[in-house]
Amino acid sequence: MIELVQGKIDLERVIAAVSHPGAGATVIFVGTTRDHNEGREVIRLEYEAYEEMAISELQRLVLTAQTQWPETRAAIAHRLGEVPLGEPSVVIAVSSPHRAQAFAACRFLIDELKKSVPIWKKEFFQGGEVWIGTQQGTPLPSSWVRPDS
């Protein structure tokens, strides 16, 4: 199961997608939206994706993980649009006969997802907004952040 969803992620569904009688371990990663970043109080977060490519990149990552850890099964759900603070934006579940493979594959999937899957996060804070990933430590000047205002 690989899904981009509007609205809340159904954690149980993601876990159910990898459950099977041969699984002795299921590792779940839940990424949640934080109320602060780099010293700023975050008001809200929005996610945007190049959906067709995000799906194909996620499928590629899952295949890579299953090649490296052959007995694992993986499911990924990523939320798009506005995500209220404290709610999950991404959930990854990996099952395997033994826990070591599930931990390793789950770690691989979240690390690679963040590097290469075309999903962007916009952070809104008091006095501005910024696309995370387009800057390192310093917010972009508000002169271009809101070109239409």
Binding site: E48, Y50, M53, S116, W120, K121, W131, G133, L140, W144
Partner: protein, 89 residues
């Protein structure tokens, strides 16, 4: 020939559009297309080296030669990725 250019995140905001068809010369490269796009939407220039490209949903480099009908996406750095030292305004 024509290619479909799709803009996301910061590139979408700077171009003011989500997608558009662009006329390019036969055997134009992504680098050539990028020059056209910056002329058309000067605010894109500020993203400079930060932008990656995908052609038909696969990452590729700026020397890639385009074909008629290709779907080209401008990919600003993704949310958790390293910016790789890219510089923008």
């Amino acid at each position: 020939m024509r290619v479909l250019v799709r803009y996301f995140a910061a590139a979408r905001e700077r171009s003011g559009t989500t997608e558009e068809w662009i006329e390019v010369e036969e055997s134009a490269t992504l680098a050539g297309l990028w020059s056209l796009l910056v002329q058309r939407h000067p605010a894109l220039a500020g993203l400079g080296s930060c932008i990656s490209f995908a052609v038909n949903r696969e990452y590729t480099d700026r020397l890639h030669t385009l074909r008629d009908g290709d779907e080209v996406a401008l990919i600003p750095p993704v949310s958790g990725g390293s910016t790789g030292g890219c510089i923008h305004d």
